[in-house]
């Protein structure tokens, strides 16, 4: 590790580790306050006193200094593997870290933070202040496994803050870190800050992450009140750095998760533009020997490698090969043979004889050499994509760097207005659900989100993680990143297509013979067999399970589920193996399930083929290699899954798709789950297989005719209990939705005020100068004032749309929640 201080005449200095800028005294407070103060302020809100703090990295003591400014901190551990950095922190940097290491609350540990966290206790605030990874080993403390350790060490109510990577020039890497933190079961709030010295180094806006067990609302940042004074950071404006445009967020959706097994972060950091250059480039025909596009595709895998270095190397090799004329070379050497030793002369003569004997010229050698070089470049490109660390040798880190220029203007507003023209749109909350449709399948309900399957709201995008499949450096990536198919699958633990295992889920049921309670004039239908326990084998989606017998099961609440099999849909309660009701088999519902199963099966087949190919090479070594045996197990389980998915699709039996539309098209209905709605008179209506509707008030269950006559049967207690649980679940989700909408509304309104202020400022500058080309600071870029005015006006329009959407959403959620609350009372406690 190379440590270097670059001192300037005015006494300021910059600190570098292996050539990477760590801090510059001119603006280090901005960096460290931005990292530490938001998290500490939020942690102190939850627990004002007796705060325990852990700092991983940060051996310079500057983050430690910031944490110790909080009087509530009673204990602060700092763990850094570099004794040298900590030593500099104690000595050279003692003045700027205000002797933080001498504080009685500070406890310093030299060692691996990874190991330290294994035995660490619980902390109210955890900070990771690591250097940016420059080799594969460095990325270990950015993996999901690392963040899982953090998650375990974080006290309830605690908060963590991570120094990430550039959120401007390595946006994919930044989102990769963010997604990795989320994969460790932590809620995140990403934000970015412009550090002038970082900017001068070409790092761009710097990214940070807040993480906690609970969601961190943007309003928490907006309303952040730091109990201690700041020197450079402007806490009141920090929330603007947490604004990301829709385009940026979309890039985040496709970011992969970085794990020990599936290391993806380093290529993203080192090749921020590789995807773009691939799109523009294209490989020329090898016959033309145009290697430039090919060379440009070689990913950089080491911080000591640069694009220029690769291109220069390639040019030199190509030039050497083209210019090579061994015959002339030997002739020239022999002309001066008197100056050479006798043995060498003899050797050169042999070489000349050899060259004259192998053909009329050596043009073919040059030609074939170039072709060989093309082949080698292709091989290296491929090898580099497969195993970056093996393809290029690692050089030692250089320490060369340019000194940064003095003068750090515009510290104050550096981090504001990152959002760009579309950056004010509020987050798309409450969307998602099994198939992401906002309208549901029944057509009877209006605006229910994700109600199609289960009435589950806000579960997130069911297919969201598939996005990572398109994120490989060169080709589409496999999706299995966990070991579920090597162990959990088939042993009672449902596994998803990514190989993640979940808690065992067992359901006891008998298949419906088409009726259920109130079906075909029969009372609770029994086919005369005891209910059999069936285990969930595969989790096709958060709301869809494939059972060990190929049945499809869609949970609707904690106690109820839909069984979808043989072209029928039946509602079951966990308390009874008998179906409670048969429901209308909506063709779109079935089709969507079929599409989902087909997609997952296609992915499983891709994985199977990949493993078969691999094992066709190495299968015979299974007796001596455990990893190959694991691969074989995984292949067997995937083949089993493929069979089960085929079976499940056969079991499904799609209904004809020329079904009549639902007879209920009432916009006041609130959808609970598939073809089950809460009507305006606080009853719940089900669409029966014969396309008629059954109604219940929790006491009686009636057909539409019986509703007018007042007759009907007693509603089974299990059905009433199930409906109550569905309503309870929905109430909670609606309350969360409402809160989220209110938060969005508040945020959008505050944004509006800020945007209006910005607009007024731009207009003032415009009218004062009269020069429309005058540059103004529009967040991360300087643009002309007229352009800034246009963009800001556009921001205002988008903001208004957000406000309208939030108002409409909140109104609908509140109205639905009220309706459900009333119905819940009707159904009794």
């Amino acid at each position: 590790m190379n440590l270097h201080c670059d001192k300037r005449e005015n006494g300021d200095f910059a600190f570098y580790i292996d050539g990477d800028l760590q801090f510059d005294t001119a603006d280090e407070a901005l960096y460290h306050e931005s990292l530490v103060l938001p998290a500490m302020s939020l942690a102190q809100l939850a627990k004002p006193d007796n705060l325990r703090v852990l700092i991983c990295g940060g051996g310079d003591g500057l983050a430690l200094r910031e944490t110790l400014r909080f009087p509530g901190v009673v204990h602060a551990d700092l763990v850094d593997y570099s004794e040298a950095v900590v030593e500099w922190g104690r000595t050279r940097f003692a003045e700027i870290n205000q002797g933080a290491f001498e504080d009685s609350r500070a406890h310093t540990h030299i060692g691996d933070a990874w190991d330290f966290l294994a035995d660490a206790g619980s902390y109210d605030a955890i900070f990771c202040d690591f250097t940016v990874p420059r080799c594969a080993e460095d990325t270990r403390v950015f993996t999901r496994d690392w963040y899982e350790r953090i998650q375990r060490a974080l006290a309830p109510g605690g908060i963590a803050a991570f120094n990430a990577v550039s959120a401007q020039y390595a946006l994919d890497a930044f989102w990769c870190v963010e997604k990795t933190v989320r994969a460790a079961q932590l809620h995140t709030r990403p934000y970015r800050v412009c550090i002038p010295s970082f900017r001068a180094q070409g790092y761009g806006a710097w990214g940070f992450l807040l993480a906690a067990h609970r969601p961190i609302k943007q309003t928490a940042l907006r309303n952040l009140e730091c109990p201690i004074p700041t020197r450079q950071a402007e806490m009141s404006g920090l929330w603007r750095g947490a604004q990301f445009s829709r385009a940026e967020r979309l890039r985040g959706k496709s970011a992969p998760v970085h794990t020990l097994e599936h290391s993806v972060l380093l290529p993203l950091i080192l090749n921020p533009d590789l995807r773009g250059s691939k799109a523009q480039g294209g490989v020329a025909s090898p016959d033309q020997y145009n290697l430039e596009p090919l060379v440009s595709l070689i990913p950089i895998v080491h911080s000591c490698h640069t694009r220029t270095m690769i291109e220069t190397l390639a040019e030199q090799v190509i030039g050497s090969v083209r210019a090579l004329d061994l015959r002339k070379l030997t002739d020239a050497l022999l002309e001066r043979s008197k100056e050479l030793p006798g043995e060498l002369i003899a050797e050169l003569r042999r070489l000349r004889d050899f060259l004259s004997g192998i053909g009329s010229g050596i043009a073919w050698l040059s030609q074939w050499s170039r072709r060989l070089f093309v082949a080698l470049v292709i091989l290296m490109t491929l090898a580099n994509a497969v195993s970056p660390d093996s393809a290029f040798g690692k050089g030692s880190f250089g320490s060369g760097h340019g000194g940064i220029s003095a003068g750090h203007a515009s510290v104050g507003r550096g981090y504001s207005s990152f959002s760009g023209s579309s950056g004010f749109s509020s987050s798309g909350h409450a969307s998602g659900g099994s198939f992401g449709g906002k309208s549901g399948f029944s057509g009877g309900a209006v605006g229910r989100t994700g109600g199609s399957f289960s009435g589950t709201r806000g579960l997130g995008s069911s297919f969201g993680t598939r996005g990572s499949a398109a994120h490989g450096p060169l080709i589409s990536r496999p999706v299995i990143t966990s070991t579920g198919f090597r162990g959990g699958y088939g042993s009672g633990r449902p596994t998803d297509i990514y190989g993640r295992s979940y808690e065992p889920r067992t359901f006891i049921y008998v298949h419906s013979s088409g009726g259920g309670y109130y079906g075909q004039g029969a009372n609770p239908v029994s086919n005369g067999t005891e209910g059999k326990p069936h285990q969930a084998l595969f989790m096709a989606d958060a709301d869809m399970l494939v059972m060990d017998n190929g049945d499809i099961l869609v949970p609707v609440s904690e106690t109820g589920y839909l069984l979808v099999v043989g072209g029928t849909v039946s509602l079951y309660s966990k308390s009874s193996p008998e179906p409670l009701l048969a429901l209308y088999p909506d063709a779109r519902f079935f089709q969507n399930i079929a599409v989902q199963l087909e997609g997952q099966q296609a992915q499983a087949q891709f994985e199977i083929k990949a493993r078969r190919d691999w094992l066709s090479w190495v299968g015979w070594t299974s007796a001596m290699a455990s990893s190959v045996r694991d691969d074989e197990t995984e292949l067997r389980n995937l083949e089993d899954l493929d069979r089960r998915l085929t079976e499940a699709q056969k079991h499904l039996v799609l209904p004809p798709d020329d079904q009549p539309p639902s007879s209920r098209q009432n916009s006041t209905d609130v959808e609970l789950f598939l073809d089950c709605v809460l009507t305006q008179d606080d009853r719940i209506a089900f669409r029966a297989p014969d396309d008629h509707w059954l109604h219940t008030d929790g006491k009686r269950l009636r057909t539409e005719q019986e509703t007018t006559s007042g007759q009907g049967r007693v509603c089974p207690p299990a059905l009433t209990a199930l409906l109550k649980s569905v309503m309870d679940k929905l109430s909670k989700e609606l309350a969360a939705d409402s809160k989220s909408f209110a938060s969005d509304l508040s945020q959008a309104q505050q944004e509006r005020t800020t945007i209006q202020k910005d607009l007024a400022e731009y207009q003032r500058i415009y009218s004062a100068g009269g020069d429309s080309s005058e540059s103004v600071d529009y967040g991360t870029e300087e643009i002309s004032v007229s352009n800034a005015i246009n963009r800001t006006q556009n921001d205002l329009a988008v903001n208004q749309q957000d406000i309208d959407a939030a108002i409409a959403g909140a109104s609908k959620a509140d109205s639905d929640a009220q309706r459900i609350m009333q119905a819940r009372q009707t159904f009794g406690q």
């Binding site: 497969v386 299995i480 691999w614 290699a625």
Partner: protein, 130 residues
């Protein structure tokens, strides 16, 4: 020349995985057809006089390296598509063992063919001289 011929032929073979070729076909191609062709090319172009041992070494090197490169690249590709690499060291070791074993087999076949051809050419040259 033999090495280049081997690379080209194995390159054609690499369009499908061993699994897709089916095992008997792949074994025939990888350990017999291509090495024999490599040996023949080497045996045909190499300058005489050479003895059988030299011919065997030439064939072994050409066929072996061609197979080694083919096997290594194919396995890297195959494992990349598998994705999960919890035991990188183990996987690398397995890959190396497989590539070396296959390279030895292909190299020995190519070497034998090359040595035989050189022997025949030598014999034929001697007869012509006589």
């Amino acid at each position: 020349m033999g090495f280049l011929a081997g690379l080209v032929l194995y390159g054609v073979g690499a369009t499908r995985s061993p699994y897709e070729w089916t095992t008997p076909v792949w074994i025939t191609l990888a350990f017999f057809v291509v090495p024999v062709l490599v040996g023949l090319v080497n045996g045909a172009v190499v300058k005489l006089p050479r003895n059988g041992a030299e011919g065997f070494r030439i064939g072994l090197r050409s066929g072996g390296w061609a197979m080694f490169l083919y096997a290594s690249a194919s396995m890297m590709w195959a494992h990349y598509r598998v994705g999960y690499n919890g035991n990188t060291g183990g996987v690398l070791l397995v890959g190396l063992v497989v590539a070396i074993t296959y390279a030895l087999i292909a190299g020995v076949v190519a070497g034998c063919v090359c040595a035989l051809l050189i022997g025949r050419r030598t014999k034929s040259t001697e007869q012509n001289t006589e």
